[in-house]
């Protein structure tokens, strides 16, 4: 059983465990034993620990599906851009927008980040479009290519079971085209739009015209501009005014075809007074060739709206010698457009050979709130340069940054973040805590906070500490009968607890499991 499916079973189990096990118990006993909410949490978090036992030496998701891929010629030019757009039956404005981005991209240079070292990407040696060769988009699970279903089975996210999983609707993406969307009807009733981006461009062109590229303009940065030109697909979410989305929206991404750059584009709009929680989880098949991933996520929160965006990222990180692995160059940005709006990013980054990612918040509305919770774990030869930008523009805006870096092996892990308070942003508040944990003496942990403050009423505070997994801690746990590997897993999970608490339960479980998996062989 793979981790994901077991996690979901566990989610199931936990849910039942808490609700039914407790119901089944004599109420007196329940009150006697679990006399606080906290006890329940202890009971829950205990179960999470057991998941850590499901560990295996090799990358679990390392396999390639044998679905026939439809591929365009190698390389990129205006024709390819037009072909991508035509393939998706896009309206003219979209084709033009892509072309504008492409032309702009030609003038840009790939950024050279000081802390990241990787062989240059040859952009002429990539395929910019790949889709499962199934011309008729499936209307239901029955129509989905059985091979795809088997892929999901291997990944541990069997779609049949998903429908049973209360509260989770999944927009599953293999490579570039969405193949199945569940719970659509239920969401439709509430006026919620949750569909593949390609579908949204067809069905909701007004929304796309109005919002696409407004948070991350096509000129934003090298990878974002490339994405704007060639983005394949992604998710589109619109929550109408006053609606609280009743379930966690979820999308599993996956890179599949060899040499296929993955250019997801996601846009989430939470209209006035609405709420949505979105989960993004990644697994990728093992390859010896580096693969490029350059996604864009744009979030827009109107007045009183809240968006919670959670990610567990576990793309293939390369092998123990540092060969292979995904290059993950992602632009994620949220705009708190309205007063009292809130955007919260939570990420658990354990995968990819190279990660370059700064989920950000532009706090434009008065009293708007931005949050960033991050656990980034690197092992072997992985490199991560990740953090956030909190741009305070409105009055009385607040932001919180909790970053927990974990470095093991010969990896390098950097937090890079910006807190900017513009001159008109009265009474801005920020607190940042950026901790690093080192495992072994071959790795690096770095902290690069930038604070640019132009308003005297701002209160901005940054703290950072560095610690290691101490031999004394490991021995203490050993002496109580716990193996070294489990001990390290416990200590690391404890260290990152503040962030895991932000994740929905099934993600928290998965995240902790991934951490243990990613740390294998790093101690002892």
């Amino acid at each position: 059983m793979s981790i994901v499916s077991s996690c979901q079973f566990l989610f199931f189990n936990l849910d039942f465990f808490v609700q039914y096990a407790l119901l089944a118990m004599n109420m007196d006993r329940k009150n006697q034993i679990l006399n606080s909410e906290n006890d329940k949490n202890i009971a829950l978090s205990d179960e999470q620990q057991t998941i850590q036992n499901i560990t295996n030496q090799d990358y679990k998701y390392g396999f390639v599906t044998d679905i026939e891929m439809e591929e365009f010629p190698l390389g990129l030019n205006e024709n390819i851009v037009r072909m991508i757009s035509a393939k998706k039956n896009e309206p003219e404005f979209m084709t033009e927008w892509r072309l504008k981005a492409y032309r702009h991209w030609l003038k840009m240079k790939e950024p050279k980040w000081p802390k990241l070292h990787y062989p240059e990407v040859n952009f002429d040696d990539l395929y910019y479009y790949a889709a499962p060769k199934n011309e008729n988009a499936p209307k239901s699970l029955d129509e989905v290519d059985p091979e795809l279903i088997r892929t999901f089975d291997k990944l541990g996210v069997p779609l049949e079971e998903r429908e049973l999983l209360a509260g989770v609707a999944v927009d599953a993406i293999i490579d570039s085209v969405s193949v199945a969307t569940t719970f659509k009807n239920k969401l439709n009733e509430l006026g919620i739009i949750f569909c593949p981006m390609s579908e949204a461009i067809q069905d909701h062109p007004d929304l796309i015209k109005k919002y696409l590229g407004t948070v991350v303009p096509y000129t934003d940065n090298f990878y974002a501009t490339l994405n704007s030109a060639v983005f394949s697909d992604g998710s589109f979410v619109y929550i109408p005014p006053g609606i609280r989305c009743p379930m966690e929206l979820s999308s599993y991404f996956r890179i599949n075809a060899a040499k296929t750059g993955q250019f997801e584009r996601t846009l989430i709009i939470a209209d006035k007074g609405s709420y949505v929680s979105y989960l993004e989880g990644c697994t990728a098949p093992m390859r010896d060739e580096n693969q490029l991933h350059a996604a864009i996520v744009e979030l827009i929160a109107m007045e009183d709206a809240e968006i919670k965006y959670s990610t567990v990222q576990n793309w293939y990180a390369g092998n123990k010698e540092g060969v292979g692995g995904i290059y993950n160059f992602v632009t994620k940005r949220g705009l708190c457009a309205g007063n009292h709006s809130k955007i919260s990013w939570t990420q658990v980054e354990t995968g990819s050979a190279v990660t370059w990612k700064y989920p950000s918040c532009i706090l434009k509305g008065d009293y708007s709130v931005g949050e960033f919770y991050s656990v980034a774990l690197t092992n072997n030869f992985q490199q991560a340069d990740t953090g956030t930008k909190m741009i305070h523009q409105g009055r009385n805006t607040r932001s919180l940054i909790i970053s927990k870096g974990i470095s093991a092996g010969k990896s390098n892990n950097a937090y890079r973040g910006l807190v900017k308070v513009s001159s008109k942003a009265e009474n801005a508040r920020n607190y940042s805590q950026c901790d690093s944990l080192l495992i072994g003496d071959q790795c690096g942990a770095h902290t690069y906070p930038y604070m640019e403050i132009e308003n005297p009423s701002a209160q901005v505070e940054h703290e950072a500490t560095t610690s290691k997994v101490s031999e004394d801690q490991i021995f203490y746990l050993n002496q109580r009968g716990i193996s070294t590997e489990d001990a390290v897993g416990m200590i690391v999970s404890g260290y990152a607890r503040e962030v895991f608490q932000q994740l929905p339960m099934e993600f928290a479980v998965e995240a902790q499991a991934l951490m243990s998996l990613s740390l294998e062989g790093s101690v002892g």
Binding site: P114, G440, Q442, A445, P449, Y450, E452, A464
Partner: protein
């Protein structure tokens, strides 16, 4: 000797050809690589990470004129010497050593301390001095270091022998005095402290009220085993000046550095201090205040290189920015592989006192060893409302209360100054400046 140049870059080119080898502070061998960089003439831009927040437009746009040190009012010096009355005073005027106003170098005011002009070194001393420069590799290898190394025609070699506690502080006064024309000074000072010896140095940069000047000094300091140095730097030049300095310090085993910087002066101040632990078990304490008004730009950069195990560093810098001034703190703590048992702390706290003031702070950690204790913190904020109210509730006016709290904020640093007269002077200077703030804001 008056030369008129159109701008800063041309002025550098002129300087390259302005003397014989013997006129320069350093040997041709050492100067050659600096000259190559000067000939390229590339100045940092805001795309350079280390200069991200400090634009050089104004300094590069300056009109230049060089002038010898005439027209000096000696009373000015008398006042400045009082800052550290019981000291050996050495005076530079517009970048040139002034025998007239300095205590006689040949008369050793301090036993065990030899002070020589860089232009006047015997081969043994030159070797010793230039070795210290050669071993120092600044991480900020911008052109300014080379303006001092390649072009300096003045400076001191300060050499403290072994096992000696040098009692009298060394007071180095750098004065820019010309009005109406621009003076340019770029002294190179090399300081060598022998084993188990201790020394106190006060470097005071001042200018006449109406002076136009560019000061680009560089100090290279080597502390041998068990030695210690108290190093105070006062930046008090007037607003017609720009000041860009580099200080490189190497610490040997068990050596101890206490470095203070009080930067209140100049239109543009950029002070880069780089500390390298070249042997285990040393410690460095860096602290300072940067206090800006009008449209001053004050940039403090520190680079703490923990290259060896068991060393301790502690940095505490406070910025107070008023009017349209901008402050920059750019601090790096690097813990290299194998530098186990490092204990490094870095703190930067800032007060913004005006709507148009700005602070950019970047406290950074780069860590490659696991058994270390490293923390850093930075805050930016207003005065504590509760504290203000508390003082007001005791009958103190809001303006006075704010002044008291700002004072307290600064004095947590200044109280660490070990030379009484200096401490009083610095506190007095800060108080004066804050009083100005009070009146302009009222």
């Amino acid at each position: 000797m008056t030369e008129v140049s159109t701008n800063f870059k041309d002025c550098i080119q002129d300087q390259i050809h302005s003397g014989d080898d013997t006129d320069f502070a350093l040997s041709p061998e050492l100067r050659s690589s600096s000259l190559a960089i000067l000939n390229e003439g590339i100045f940092p831009t805001r795309k350079d990470e280390e200069w991200r927040y400090t634009p050089l437009k104004d300094i590069l746009g300056r009109k230049f004129e060089f002038i010898s040190n005439d027209k000096l009012n000696p009373d000015l010096l008398v006042e400045h010497k009082k800052v550290v009355p019981d000291a050996q005073h050495i005076v530079f005027i517009n970048g040139e050593y002034s025998a007239e106003f300095s205590d006689d170098l040949t008369q050793q005011a301090n036993a065990g301390l030899a002070i020589k002009l860089m232009t006047d070194l015997d081969p043994t001393d030159r070797q010793k001095a230039e070795n210290i420069i050669q071993n120092s590799k600044l991480s900020d290898n911008s052109i300014f270091q080379h303006i001092a190394l390649g072009l300096s025609q003045s400076g001191l070699f300060i050499d403290a022998t072994n096992d000696t506690e040098i009692a009298k502080p060394l007071h180095l006064l750098f004065l820019s005095s010309t009005a109406g024309s621009t003076s340019f000074s770029n002294p190179v000072n090399i300081i060598h402290i022998g084993q188990n010896s201790s020394l106190k140095i006060v470097e005071q940069f001042v200018s006449a009220q109406d002076a136009q000047a560019v000061t680009i000094p560089a100090d290279y300091i080597h502390l041998n085993k068990g030695s210690s140095l108290d190093f105070y730097k006062l930046g008090l030049e007037s607003e017609g000046t720009d000041h860009i300095s580099n200080t490189a310090v190497e610490l040997s085993e068990s050596a101890e550095l206490n470095m203070h910087q009080y930067l209140l002066g100049s239109r543009l101040t950029r002070s880069n201090s780089e500390i390298t632990f070249v042997e285990p078990g040393a410690q460095a304490k860096l602290c300072g205040i940067f206090l800006g008004n009008k449209s001053q730009h004050l940039d403090i950069r520190t680079y703490m290189d923990h290259a060896q195990p068991n060393c301790t560093s502690d940095q505490s810098f406070r910025g107070i920015m008023n009017d349209r001034s901008r402050g920059v703190f750019n601090g790096m703590v690097l813990v290299r592989e194998h530098a186990q048992n490092t204990d490094a702390h870095q703190s930067n706290k800032n007060l913004l006192l005006s709507r148009d003031a700005r602070i950019d702070t970047k406290p950074q950690l780069e860590i490659f060893a696991d058994d270390v204790k490293c923390t850093h913190g930075a805050t930016i904020g207003e005065l504590d409302e509760d504290a203000l109210f508390y003082l007001q509730s005791r009958g103190i006016s809001k303006v006075d209360a704010a002044l008291m709290l700002t004072h307290a904020f600064a004095s947590e640093i200044t109280q660490e100054i070990q030379i009484d007269s200096l401490r009083e002077y610095v506190q007095h200077k800060i108080a004066n400046r804050l009083r100005h703030i009070q009146t302009t804001n009222a």
